[in-house]
Each structure stands twice: as structure tokens, then as C-alpha cells.
Amino acid sequence: MTERLDQQSASAARRRGGGRPLGTAIRYLIFLGPAALLYVPFVLKPLIETFGLSLFAWNGVSAERTFVGLANYARALGDPIFWISLRNNLYWVVTSIVLPMATGLVIAVLLSAVRRGQRIYAGIFFTPVVLNLIIVGLVWGIIYNPLIGPLNRLLRAVGLGSLAIGWLGDRYAATPAIMVAGAWTFFGFCAVIFLQGLRTLDREQIEAATIDGAGPFRRFRKIIVPALSDQVTLLIVMSIIGSFKVFDIVYVMTKGGPDHASEVIATYMYWQSFMNGSLGYGAALAVMLTAVVAGASLAMMALRERD
């Protein structure tokens, strides 16, 4: 009965799709029109303009712009700070998928077992998400402060004084340190999203798996995690895009320093464009960033479609 219905709707879809292409086009236009109306002036036009800019050597104010073709792109390939920035962005992708999502997932699973005050706890974990990044920068600046920061004090107190370094001023530690702060602003969001996903997960599924002999770890892996696959996809896409676009928190905490060690593409782009007077080069960086973000999103969507 149901099968027959499925077949019917499938063949109906085929008819709609194949038989009347013009009708489909108009339909698309009607649905996409309003979005496109916003998309063209606010996304496409600036993007084309930025690409145009990237073909010039220009300091942003001078009346004359020198056309340099793709030289700005070539410059990026030979610019060690560009590669440092890109590498840092990739670190961000990895950490922001692993760190906040893992923490968020664990917290969500724990919270879902809490009966009373679940919302309050979730709210507490969510607070960093809505905090102003200036405040985040200040808070973590204090935590990492080599003189009075609680982190180093703690390390010394437990006999790990040799690890008590100047986190944000250390070329190797700065990026990881900012990423931890970044994860802190994101794990609460992950937790709330996962918690929402867990709400739709039937408790009886977990019980069924328990009776079927699955221990806590296997239940987590085989039942809970798959049930959250929509949430996982959403958060991974957000993490990837967010990681490539990351700017504020780096800017607030280190401005890309020390010695450009914690630079990411967006901060480097900002610095080149507005502080270093290389707007054309900055534009080329922006175009490359956009390409990477768009590519990552498309790849993610393709993966999702295939599933």
C-alpha cells in the first residue's frame, strides 16, 4: 500500500521534472527570485568588485591604480605569512570540529540525563556564545596572563611550572591558546544543538540497545551519535565556514601576533588592506578566502547529498 504510494509520487515527480522544463524554470524563478534579488547586490556585486580590485596594485586612496593582473595572487603564493595564515585556518578547522563539538556532545549527553534544572545548566554553558568578543578577549587575556593569570598559577601549583609560558606571546602557543578560547565561545552552542537533537532521540531506543547488549560506549557510538547526524553535519559546516572566516577573536587576542604567528587569512587580509596599505593584495586574499569557504561548503553539501 505504502509502496504503491511511493511509486506513484516518484513517477509523478519524474513527470514534473522531465516533462515541463519551462514550467520548472519559472517555478525556480518564483522561489529563488526574492533570494536572488538580495543575493545580487549584497553578495555577487561586491564579490565581483573585490575580484576586480584584486587585479590592481592599490593603496586604497591613490587616484591611480596599477593593473597587475594576477600578480597579487602570485604574491600570496610566495608570501610566507600567507601560508602561515592558511595553515592556521586549517588548524582552526580541525580544532573547531574536534574541541567544541566533542565537549558540546559530552555535555549534551550528560545534560540530557539531568531532569531538574537542565535549562539552567544549558543556559550557563550557552553564555559564552552570546558574550561580546571583546569581553571574551579580556577574560582569556587574563586567564593566559603570564604574570597574574590563573592558568599559569594553576600549572605552577601542580608542579608544571615549566609549562607556564606566555601563551598569547608565544609563537607556537598563541594559535592553540586562541583556539581554546574560540572553542569556549562555541561549545555551548554545540551542546544546545546536540541537546535539541537528543530530545528527539527516543529514550526507548537507548533502552532497546541496552537490552540488545550494547554497553555505554557502543550505545553512544551506534545509537546516540548516528541520531545526531543532522546536528553533526550542521555544526561541521558551521565550524568549517567559521574557521575560515575567523577574525574577531584572533584580532582581539593577538592581532595575529607575535610576529604574525597567529595570523589567519582574515586578519592578514585586514592588516594588508587597512594597516599595510595593500588593498589590492588584501582583495586577492579575500577572493581566495571566499573561494575556499565556498568550496568547503559545496563539498560538504555534496557529501551530504550523497548520503
Partner: protein, 442 residues
């Protein structure tokens, strides 16, 4: 028909509401847009007073201030001016990396004639005016003289038994200095031995290390060598430049800075000093206001100037004007903007900059006798008359600044040597020079 009637009604009510809200002065208001960086409490208050008084004296003029921090104004002003939507008057970094490109793009009004017409050529101190001079033309009106110095916590110094190291300069008895840099080392060693941070130094924003470098370069090379590099055939990999970096680095190796200066922000570094946890703080006269406001007992703080490495160099410091006022070429209200500048650069206004905002304006012959300035501020004014050298970051092109600032950080973590940094500075300098992006005053 019905629609057009409706439209007319709308228009009428819109007009009416404009008339009601703007009131009787509707006809005569001229708006002067000013973008400045006076975000600290006292200068901000003073600017607002100036604005109010000027408006009172000029009915029909409304001055709209837009107060921005340095990064924000750097990021927004060029585009705004280019688009013709910028301010009439703005307060912006002087120097070839900032005001320079605006000048070259024709966005800044040439004030050379105005200097003569308004007598600024006589009333303002020469060297600050030189800093806003490009190609023999004057493009701005400097507003504050700043120079590097060493703040010292007298209570700590006393505790270290080092108070007698401070001596009056022989030519400027109002100014404190040391007999030699060795005496400075002695103070730093003593405080290190007592577990007190010798120099409160935070270099997370490497502009701070840049100030130290400019200062140390003044001590090792003097203004003449820097002039030779800037305007002649001198080089940034000159041994004396390397000496300045060595001094900077030696103080780090000797443990005179707090641990991990690259991790400490400027404010955190200052806080160390303000709280009595550090003996000295090498920064600049711009900090006087904060010291007055934030140190529990400001009378225990004083400052001195470091003696030069060799005796034939005069007592000096690295000086600059920070930012400058400039007028937009496209502004329809240039004269009004200049009138306002005239107003805030008068001798009377100069006294108020000093007294109320702890800012030393480049105005000659201000009589500070009746002003009852705090002793430290009096010294700042006195120091402004020294043969001061350059606080370099402002007058240098961007890539040189990057080489210098990253140098301050990479010297501290040992990833560069003084020679490396000097070489990179010279390289950046040559590139900018070749591309015509350096400061050409004359």
C-alpha cells in the same frame, strides 16, 4: 487622482515634521564633521568644551564629532574620504604610511598658505610642523608633542637605595637624568635582585617595543644618524642601529623585562608599574594622564630621561606628534574647519590642553607659570624643548614598521638576531624608497 492627493498629503506632513523638529534655525545650520581620536576621558571632555564654545561663538554652526580609536580610523577614513563622505576635519596619523597616501591622492588640503595667513608659522614649534610637511608643503596642524621617557617609582627606588642615581641635567636643571646608562643598569639589577620587575614592558602590541627601539636608537645613534638614514644615504643596517637592537635584546637577556613580554599587553604592563610591582616603565609622555588618574599616589611617580651612550650626544628622546589635524580637500567648509583649528591652537587653548588634558601642544611660549601644573607635567613641557629625535613608527612606511615591530617580538623569543632585524628593516626601507613611499619633507 486619489493617489496623488495622498502623496501630496504625505509630502506635506513630512515637510511639517522636518520644520517642527529642526525649529527656527533650519535655514542657517552649517555642519562641520570632525573625526578624531580623543577617546580618553580628559581630552574628550576638553574637545567637547571647545566644540561647545566654538558653536556658541559661531551661531548656525554645528560641529559633529566622531570619536574613533586608531585602528578604526585607519580602517575607515581613507575609504570615506575617497568616497567623498568623510569628515571636513580629521585627526589622523601623520606619516608616509597614513597621511602620506591621502596627500598624494589629493584628498588633503594644502595648508601652506594658511600657515602664513593665520600666523601658525610663527606660533607653532618648527619640528612638529616639519612632521606634517611633504614636498615642502604643509598638510596638517599638529596637536600634541610626545616623546619617550622612563617613569620611575620613587618609593621603589628609595627601597632599592638608588634614589641618588637620579641627577638634574646640567643644561636643563628641571629635567632628571642619570649619569650614565651603567647607573640605569645598576637600578635594574638592584630591583631584579629584590624580585621587583625592573622595566614594566608589555609587547603584545609590538608598537611598544617600537617605542623602546626608537628611544634606544636615539641613545646609540642620535638624531643626526637617523636624519642621514631618512633623508640621506644612511642605512638601517648601520652598526649603531644594530647597537640599539642589542641594547633592547640585552635587557631581555639580563631579565629586566617581565617574563614573556610578548604575552603582556600594554595596559597590563602599565598596570604592573602602576601597582608598584615594577621599578620603571619605558614609554612616553602620553602616559602622564593615565598616571595621574590611575596611580593611587601619583606623587611617588616621576620620570627621567636616559643619558646617551656617548657623551657627545645631547640629552634627547624619541619624539613625535602622533596624529595631526588635517582638512579634507573636498570639504565645502575648509575655512570653518581652519577657524576651528585656529580656536583650539590659540595660546589660551594651549594652556587648557596642558592643564586639562595633559597634552603638550606644539605652541610656542606658553606661559605655564600661572597654570599650577603638577611637577611631572612641568617637566614634560620642559623636555619638549630638547633637541628631540624621531619616534619612528609614525614617520616610516608600512613594511618597515612591520619589519621593525615583528623584530621586537622575534628578538625576545630568540628567533631573530639584531643583525637579522636590521637587515630586514633596510630591505623594507629600500623597497619603499624605490616605490616612492617614504617621507619626503623637502
Amino acid at each position: 487622482m486619489g493617489i496623488s492627493l495622498f502623496k501630496t498629503g504625505l509630502l506635506a506632513s513630512a515637510l511639517l515634521s522636518v520644520a517642527l523638529t529642526t525649529g527656527p534655525s533650519l535655514a542657517a545650520t552649517t555642519v562641520l564633521n570632525v573625526w578624531d581620536q580623543f577617546f580618553s576621558e580628559e581630552p574628550n571632555k576638553l574637545m567637547n568644551e571647545f566644540v561647545a564654545e566654538f558653536q556658541k561663538a559661531h551661531p548656525g554652526v554645528e560641529i559633529k564629532r566622531n570619536v574613533l580609536d586608531t585602528d578604526s580610523i585607519r580602517a575607515t577614513l581613507p575609504a570615506a574620504l575617497t568616497a567623498g563622505q568623510g569628515p571636513d576635519l580629521f585627526y589622523y596619523d601623520a606619516g608616509p604610511a597614513f597621511l602620506g597616501p591621502l596627500v598624494e591622492a589629493g584628498l588633503v588640503a594644502d595648508l601652506t598658505q594658511e600657515y602664513a595667513a593665520r600666523g601658525w608659522d610663527k606660533s607653532l614649534v618648527d619640528w612638529p610642523v616639519e612632521r606634517v610637511t611633504y614636498g615642502n608643503k604643509i598638510w596638517g596642524v599638529p596637536n600634541e608633542i610626545e616623546y619617550t621617557n622612563v617613569y620611575v617609582d620613587l618609593a621603589v627606588l628609595d627601597q632599592l637605595g638608588m634614589k641618588d642615581k637620579l641627577v638634574a641635567d646640567k643644561d636643563h636643571p628641571e629635567l632628571l637624568t642619570l649619569k650614565s646608562l651603567d647607573d640605569f643598569k645598576a637600578i635594574l639589577e638592584a630591583s631584579k635582585a629584590k624580585g621587583i620587575v625592573p622595566i614594566a614592558f608589555g609587547n603584545r602590541d609590538p608598537g611598544r617595543g617600537g617605542h623602546l627601539f626608537s628611544y634606544f636608537l636615539t641613545l646609540t645613534a642620535g638624531k643626526d644618524l637617523v636624519d642621514k638614514i631618512l633623508f640621506g644615504d644612511g642605512r638601517w643596517d648601520d652598526p649603531k642601529v644594530i647597537d640599539a637592537w642589542k641594547l633592547y635584546k640585552d635587557y631581555s637577556t639580563a631579565g629586566y623585562y617581565p617574563p614573556s613580554p610578548n604575552a603582556i599587553s600594554y595596559d597590563e604592563g602599565n598596570a604592573l608599574f602602576f601597582n608598584g610591582a615594577a621599578a620603571t616603565n619605558i614609554t612616553g609622555t602620553w602616559l602622564v594622564g593615565d598616571i595621574m588618574g590611575q596611580v593611587a599616589d601619583p606623587s611617588k611617580i616621576d620620570f627621567f630621561l636616559l643619558p646617551s651612550v656617548s657623551a657627545d650626544l645631547p640629552l634627547s628622546a624619541a619624539a613625535g606628534i602622533g596624529s595631526t589635524f588635517a582638512v579634507a580637500e573636498k570639504s565645502p567648509n575648509k575655512q570653518l574647519a581652519l577657524d576651528f583649528l585656529d580656536f583650539i591652537m590659540s595660546k589660551d587653548a594651549g594652556k587648557r590642553w596642558l592643564k586639562e588634558a595633559n597634552i603638550v601642544p606644539p605652541i610656542k611660549d606658553i606661559d605655564i607659570k600661572g597654570l599650577d601644573l603638577p611637577p611631572m607635567m612641568q617637566r614634560v613641557v620642559e623636555g619638549a624643548t630638547l633637541p628631540l629625535s624621531y619616534n619612528l613608527d609614525v614617520v616610516m612606511p608600512a613594511e618597515w614598521n612591520d619589519a621593525m615591530k615583528t623584530g621586537t617580538q622575534s628578538l625576545l623569543d630568540g628567533s631573530s638576531t639584531p643583525e637579522d632585524v636590521a637587515a630586514r628593516m633596510e630591505q623594507a626601507w629600500e623597497k619603499a624608497k624605490a616605490e616612492g613611499r617614504i617621507w619626503k619633507a623637502h
